[in-house]
């Protein structure tokens, strides 16, 4: 009741010198708007980056290798590498075991091999890798010219841009790869046929060709119980898409530039580097995988899953540390944007102080009258406080709306620009509810703090002096 009466009188007073009070309120609004705009931009960019990173598959992927592999990713791994005898083989049962671990979405063998591809009678040597169906939402494959594989076994390929350039014989100088738009490369290549020549590994008992007919002669490796033949084969592949990004960038030197559906790649039973080594060591009837990629439900689970896989006796690798520094970067970015936004609000709060101090000078007599007819110091103080608070609250609400509108317009404008550049629209703007609430509360508190001095000054005013003149 009391606070209601007080706010009513405060609002009434604010309406009286409406021009000056509106200008002050607009000042607060602009401050709040810039704060909201800056922070929403920060939050939006962060969301955008997280979304893209999640889609890139880098941050929810754990790469598993056998400890027999000598290519450890760091010295620790190298040192901990167990002797071949006691370490496990990364074979199909191991893959299934990994897939059953909690928070693991899928674990698929990494099939990659260097092979020859001929296009229009010219042969090109490159690394080929199998891509699981789950990668269709990966950034590298969404929105590309063409499409993703029509099925898991379709004889189709997606080419990485650099390979597409090579096929067309127009390799740009290094550093200028980005100058050629993918769409131009796609036109002559989509729907065209590639012929892949590869070495198939065929287990000894079933060595009679049951897949595609063998073109050239087969050689049989037969040592102890690991017996299989290697047959040279050809596979026709249809080009369905060109990827601009390099989805395999994590692999470094082993990155592939031609992608096949994973199932197709598996069924081809292409000779893998590990096969050779296995045969040299002389055990395992079954093929083993050199690496298995594990997709984790959430980047948060990566560490736990890595630990679990290590316990099974394998080496793991992930880019977890990279996310950590990225989060740090955004925390700093938000901090900076917040500081700049707050600066605007600080300037606005000086406006409040100014308006209220001016109001005291102007309303000196009024304050004197109020005190003479019985207003206590406390009442006068609270009245000015309420006026400051009302301006802050109003400015906060208007400012949030303004900030939201500004953000929306910027987002809209950028998307129009992106559309002109034939790029998919993006939302890098996000105004979460907590920000709306926090901005209004912040504006309110800043205004109350700004009102402290003017209110105290008004309360201290001597009524006799105030009424004496004029």
């Amino acid at each position: 009741m009391k606070t209601y009466d007080l706010s009513e009188l405060a609002l009434r007073n604010l309406r009286e010198s409406s021009l000056r009070n509106s200008l002050t309120t607009i000042g607060i609004s602009v401050g709040v708007a810039s704060l909201v705009a800056m922070l929403s931009l920060g939050i939006g960019l962060q969301k955008l980056a997280t979304r893209h990173l999640a889609k890139s598959g880098l941050f929810d992927t754990v790469v598993v290798t056998s400890r027999r592999e000598l290519r450890g990713f760091n010295r620790d791994d190298e040192r901990s590498t167990a002797s071949a005898a006691e370490s496990r083989t990364l074979d199909e049962p191991a893959r299934q075991e990994i897939e059953r671990l909690p928070d693991v979405l899928e674990a698929y063998p990494d099939i990659r091999f260097i092979t020859e591809l001929s296009y229009q009678n010219k042969t090109h040597l490159t690394m080929v890798s199998g891509i699981p169906d789950s990668a269709r939402s990966n950034d590298a494959f969404t929105g590309i010219p063409g499409s993703f594989f029509s099925s898991e076994t379709a004889p189709e390929v997606i080419l990485q841009k650099s390979f597409a350039l090579e096929l067309l014989g127009k390799t740009p100088p290094p550093g200028h790869e980005d100058d050629v738009p993918v769409r131009e490369l796609a036109k002559p290549l989509l729907g065209q046929e590639l012929v892949m020549r590869y070495a198939q590994r065929v287990s000894a008992p079933e060595s009679a060709g049951e897949n595609t007919p063998a073109k050239s002669g087969a050689s049989t490796v037969s040592e102890s119980d690991a017996a299989y033949s290697v047959i040279s084969r050809e596979q026709k592949l249809n080009i369905v898409g060109i990827s601009d990004l390099d989805p395999d960038s994590m692999r470094g030197a082993a990155r592939a530039r031609v992608f096949l559906p994973l199932k197709l790649a598996q069924d081809l039973r292409v000779m893998q580097p590990s096969d050779v080594r296995d045969s040299m060591r002389g055990f395992s009837k079954q093929p083993s995988y050199s690496t298995v990629s594990v997709r984790v439900r959430n980047p948060k689970n990566v560490e736990a899953v890595e630990q679990a896989i290590k316990k099974l006796g394998f080496n793991t690798f992930s880019i977890l540390d990279a996310t950590r520094s990225l989060r740090q970067f955004f925390a700093v970015l938000d901090l900076f944007l917040g500081i700049f936004g707050s600066l605007a609000l600080a300037v606005a709060s000086i406006g409040i102080v100014n308006t209220l101090v001016m109001a005291i000078l102007e309303r000196r007599r009024e304050i004197g009258i109020m005190k003479a007819i019985g207003a206590s110091d406390g009442y006068v103080k609270k009245l000015f406080f309420a006026e400051a608070g009302a301006m802050g609250l109003l400015g906060g609400v208007v400012g949030v709306a303004l900030g939201w509108a500004i953000g929306h317009i910027i987002n809209l404008g950028t998307n129009i620009y992106l559309k002109r550049q034939a790029l998919p629209p993006e939302s890098f703007w996000s105004v979460p509810w907590w920000l709306v609430g926090a901005a209004i509360v912040f504006a309110f508190i800043v205004s109350l703090v700004s009102g402290l001095y003017p209110a105290a000054r008004a309360a201290r005013l001597d009524p006799v002096q105030a009424l004496r003149y004029e």
């Binding site: 009466d5 109020m370 007819i373 019985g374 207003a375 110091d377």
Partner: protein, 264 residues
């Protein structure tokens, strides 16, 4: 100092106002201005006192001390048994709100507010309920004949109307003491008479104690029953107004009622 023997036999015996050796000095650079300089006097409940004196004689200063708007340099102001010197700022505000009503030469209405809002202000300070505030405000304005002007601003009214509104505001919390600083100073004689008749009525029917500052001797002789003359901050004369007819005396029952109202 002279205390009028006539006035000492008041209903409850205790004086409404007792002033003892009161001083209010202002230091203006080197010079010391003795606005009020050793004044002692007593005013009984229901009295109608005129404070006379030339300009600068300290009339307003004395009135402000009684109102609790100002604090004395030395001496005591005791209103209804309470020494104002011992009151906190908060308590002094309460004293101004409940015990005294004030009217001024320049009316002192808040120009940004309507008459109703002006009159309502003391009720707001007294935290009276909203609904009650409205009916009390209406009654008070109707009593001074401004029932039709509630939503007008002071600037839209004549001086006499403004002073009537100020009277309504001074009376809204039923104070026992009305302090008027030259209430007719800005008015022509006809409107002045109108205002004085209201004040006389408050004294007679409501039993309010009136202290009125004026420098018009004629006005004092016509309405007040006691005249106190100040010069250079000192009390130089204090005598009853024998010209005033006896039937003007406030009804003792009204005075008692006024005092009882305060005891709530």
């Amino acid at each position: 100092m002279t205390i009028n023997p006539d006035q000492s036999n008041s209903p409850n015996g205790a004086p409404a106002i007792r002033i003892v050796d009161l001083c209010r000095h202002y230091q203006m650079g080197e010079a010391l201005i003795r606005a009020v300089d050793g004044v002692s006097l007593q005013i009984q409940p229901g009295e109608f006192v005129a404070l006379l004196g030339s300009s600068g004689s300290g009339k307003s200063s004395l009135l402000n001390l009684i109102a609790g708007l100002d604090r004395p340099t030395s001496g005591a102001v005791i209103v209804e048994g309470r020494d104002l010197a011992h009151l906190s700022r908060e308590e002094l505000a309460k004293h101004r709100l409940r015990t005294v009503g004030m009217v001024f030469q320049s009316f002192n209405l808040v120009s940004r507010m309507t008459l109703a809002e002006n009159v309502e202000l003391p009720l707001r300070f007294a935290e009276v309920d909203r609904g009650q505030r409205q009916s009390l405000t209406r009654q008070a304005l109707e009593r001074v004949g401004l029932g039709a002007r509630m939503t007008h601003r002071p600037s839209e009214l004549s001086g006499g109307e403004q002073q009537r509104a100020a009277l309504a505001r001074a009376l809204i919390n039923h104070p026992r003491l009305l302090l008027a600083d030259e209430p007719t100073g800005n008015l022509d004689s006809h409107t002045g008479t109108e205002i004085m008749n209201f004040i006389r009525e408050f004294n007679q029917s409501l039993g309010m104690t009136i202290v009125m500052v004026t420098h018009e001797r004629a006005l004092a002789e016509r309405y007040a029953r006691r005249m106190i003359l100040l010069a250079d901050g000192k009390l130089v004369d204090d005598r009853p107004n024998n010209d005033r007819p006896h039937e003007d005396q406030p009804n003792p029952a009204a005075v008692t009622a006024s005092r009882q109202r305060e005891r709530r």
